[in-house]
């Protein structure tokens, strides 16, 4: 008889409930009711509490949402770290079973099972957080209503609390920024790009695969540049949200993995030529192996191989010596016999 675990039953029940609600009320209505309106009104409430400063409210809401989703973020970070630790073994398996896809799949599944890692552990927390971030982004954009149409739209999403009504329309000025307009001084764009770069650098785990390495390097620069560009085009309230979110992300990342690859980074390295590579060692085969980036286990194996080779060569040299000695003795005795 087919039996389901309690966890599976709960998941099925939740999915069915969500589908029923969506069909009854419509997805947009549900989205507004459950995510958008609460976040929007919370933002406005915080603005009132913090002396009418919408900029401070954005930062605080970002911190609150990040803290609430921290368990999910932590799980995602740990899962990513564990997946990356498996990379060398994964590469081994891929090389070994490159021609047998069925076997490859089985071995990969076994590897995950043995190491206790669930590949979905990386994706699931991100998927759950994604709608929250979208809702927060929309809330900030809507709260910054600067035209009559936007303000009219905002009026239909506010709770009937006097404190909320009194706060709208929001004060757009925050530090040097007009939160309803892009930052004309580019400072926010630079902050956004730089903070995102730092976060990317910290969270990127080196890969054994040269292709992935190359892709990773491109992403580290491309994403920050893209977001810096977006920041120039959207209301600066959204830029404040991105910068705040990146900084909190940096703190969380440091807590889990430390500085990561950022630790070995130096700005001087960007400006100077990299030092010339050391000349290859005497034995061509071992030199080729050393130049190829490998995981720790493979390095050990290579080192063992090298030692064996050296021993063999050494033995060979000794053998040659002995051969020469024997050959030398034979020659000398032949010479002696001829003389006599």
């Amino acid at each position: 008889m087919f039996r389901m675990s309690r966890k599976t039953l709960i998941i099925i029940a939740v999915v069915i409930a969500v589908i029923v609600i969506l069909v009854t009320f419509g997805p947009i209505e549900v989205w507004n009711l459950i995510l958008l309106q609460p976040l929007l009104n919370f933002l406005i409430l915080l603005s009132n509490v913090f002396f009418g400063s919408f900029g401070v409210a954005i930062i605080i809401v970002t911190i609150v949402v990040r803290l609430l989703t921290f368990p999910l973020t932590l799980r995602q970070l740990h899962a990513t770290k564990a997946m990356s630790a498996l990379a060398p073994k994964m590469q081994e398996i891929q090389k070994k079973y490159a021609k047998d896809q069925e076997k490859l799949r089985k071995e990969v599944a076994n590897l995950y099972k043995e190491s206790g890692i669930n590949p979905a552990g990386c994706m699931l927390p991100m998927l759950i957080q994604f709608p929250i971030w979208i809702a927060l982004y929309q809330s900030i954009a809507r709260a910054l209503a600067s035209s009559p149409e936007e303000l009219l739209n905002l009026s239909q999403n506010l709770y009937s609390l006097p404190i909320i009504q009194q706060t709208v329309p929001l004060q757009a000025q925050f530090l040097w920024l007009n939160l309803g307009k892009p930052d004309q001084y580019f400072i926010l764009a630079i902050l956004c790009g730089a903070s995102m770069w730092v976060l990317q650098k910290m969270s990127t785990v080196p890969s054994a695969d040269p292709k992935q390495q190359s892709m990773g390097k491109t992403m580290i620069w491309m994403m920050p540049m893209m977001f810096a560009l977006f920041t120039l085009m959207v209301p600066s309230g959204l830029g404040v949200f991105w910068v705040a979110s990146n900084i909190i992300g940096i703190v969380m990342q440091y807590y889990v993995t430390g500085w990561g690859t950022l630790a070995g980074f130096s700005f001087a390295g960007l400006l100077t030529k990299p030092p010339a590579k050391a000349p290859p060692p005497a034995t061509p085969e071992s030199a080729q192996q050393l130049e190829t980036p490998v995981g720790a286990e493979q390095e050990e194996a290579l080192a063992a191989e090298r030692m064996k080779e050296e021993k063999r060569l050494e033995h060979g040299k000794s053998r040659d010596k002995r051969k020469n000695r024997r050959g030398g003795r034979r020659d000398r005795s032949r010479k002696a016999r001829r003389r006599s």
Binding site: S147, P148, E149, L151, L152, S155, Q156, S160, P162, Q165, Q166, V168, P169
Partner: protein
């Protein structure tokens, strides 16, 4: 729309001409006095916010204020009295401009937040609401503040002056009656959303549209609600100013329909378009004259409706 209707809807002129860049959004209703059209522009990427005076015969620009530079984006209508144009701006200032010369009559009156409302002028005093939650009374000649009245949220609606009382709604969901000395007469607080449209007066009744999708009829002396429409449900938010034509009040709604009600009972006389059709949100004020109601809907069309039964005379598209 037949050829006869088309003949009624020809363009006389347009400003700016086709070969010039547009003024940007125009939210306020233009004001016409002595053959001159006065309008405030929100501005945009190609033009700064300014106030324009345009000859109504030929569409030529007579002046623009300010001549150099710009003021904050303009959303409200201008008001004209005694040769002076008064207009509020999103920079929080009330401007008084001489309509002959296009120059400042007095130093702009500063409030603490944006002004989106249109001013009302009565008895030498300019009344204007601001986002700083105050209704100001400013001397029309000197620009000096006489008093201000505090509400609990922003004011975006134009005050109505009727029987020496100022009637204005606010974003605090309340509708106020204020004496000319700045003291409160009464307040109505049963609405469920903001008041934005300007109210109208009919036989000692103040009729005000609200963003909660209702139109309220309040006793001018006591503030008691005489009727509201609809009775049970709501139509869409009522953002545009209604019009009074005889004993009929006509208003547009965000649900894309125009409604005509008996002003004394609130009973619906007709709606356009009928049944399930709709025009797109109607946020502009309703205009009426000579038995015709003119409606500008968000679908970029102007409709002329015959007053008695709400049948369409013609429609004209403002899109290119």
């Amino acid at each position: 729309m037949d050829d006869l209707s088309m003949a009624r809807a020809r363009i006389k002129w347009q400003y700016p001409p086709s070969d010039e860049s547009a003024l940007g959004y125009i939210y306020g209703t233009p004001c016409v006095a002595d053959g001159v059209v006065y309008v405030g522009a929100y501005g945009g990427s190609t033009r700064d916010p300014k106030v324009y005076a345009i000859d109504s015969e030929n569409g030529w620009r007579m002046w623009a204020y300010p001549e150099e530079g710009s003021i904050g984006p303009i959303i409200g209508n201008p008001a004209i009295a005694n040769g002076t144009l008064y207009i509020g701006s999103s920079d929080g200032k009330l401007y008084a401009i001489d309509i002959e010369t296009g120059r400042d009559k007095w130093w702009p009156f500063k409030t603490s937040d944006d002004i989106w409302a249109a001013p009302a002028v009565h008895g030498g005093v300019v009344y204007i609401g601001s986002f700083d939650q105050k209704l100001y009374a400013v001397d029309a000649e000197s620009g000096v503040e006489l008093w201000h009245f505090d509400t609990e949220a922003a004011i975006a609606s134009t005050p109505l002056i009727y029987n020496d009382t100022i009637y204005v709604g606010s974003f605090d969901r309340k509708f106020y009656a204020i004496n000319l000395d700045g003291t409160k007469k009464w307040q109505f607080d049963e609405a469920e959303n903001w008041f934005w449209a300007q109210a109208i007066a009919y036989q000692n009744t103040i009729i005000a549209g609200c963003l909660d999708g209702r139109v309220y009829a309040l006793d001018a002396e006591t503030g008691k609600c005489k009727w509201h429409f609809p009775v049970e449900e709501q139509v869409g938010p009522v953002r545009g100013d209604p019009a009074l034509v005889g004993d009929v009040v006509v208003f547009g709604s965000d649900d894309g329909k125009v409604y005509a009600l008996d002003a004394s009972t609130g009973q619906e006389l007709w709606q356009y378009p009928p049944e399930e059709d709709y025009l797109g949100p109607i946020r502009a004020p309703i205009c009426a004259g000579n038995g015709v109601v003119y409606v500008h809907a968000s679908n970029q069309k102007i409709y002329a409706l015959e007053m008695e039964y709400g049948r369409i005379n013609w429609s004209f598209s403002t899109a290119d």
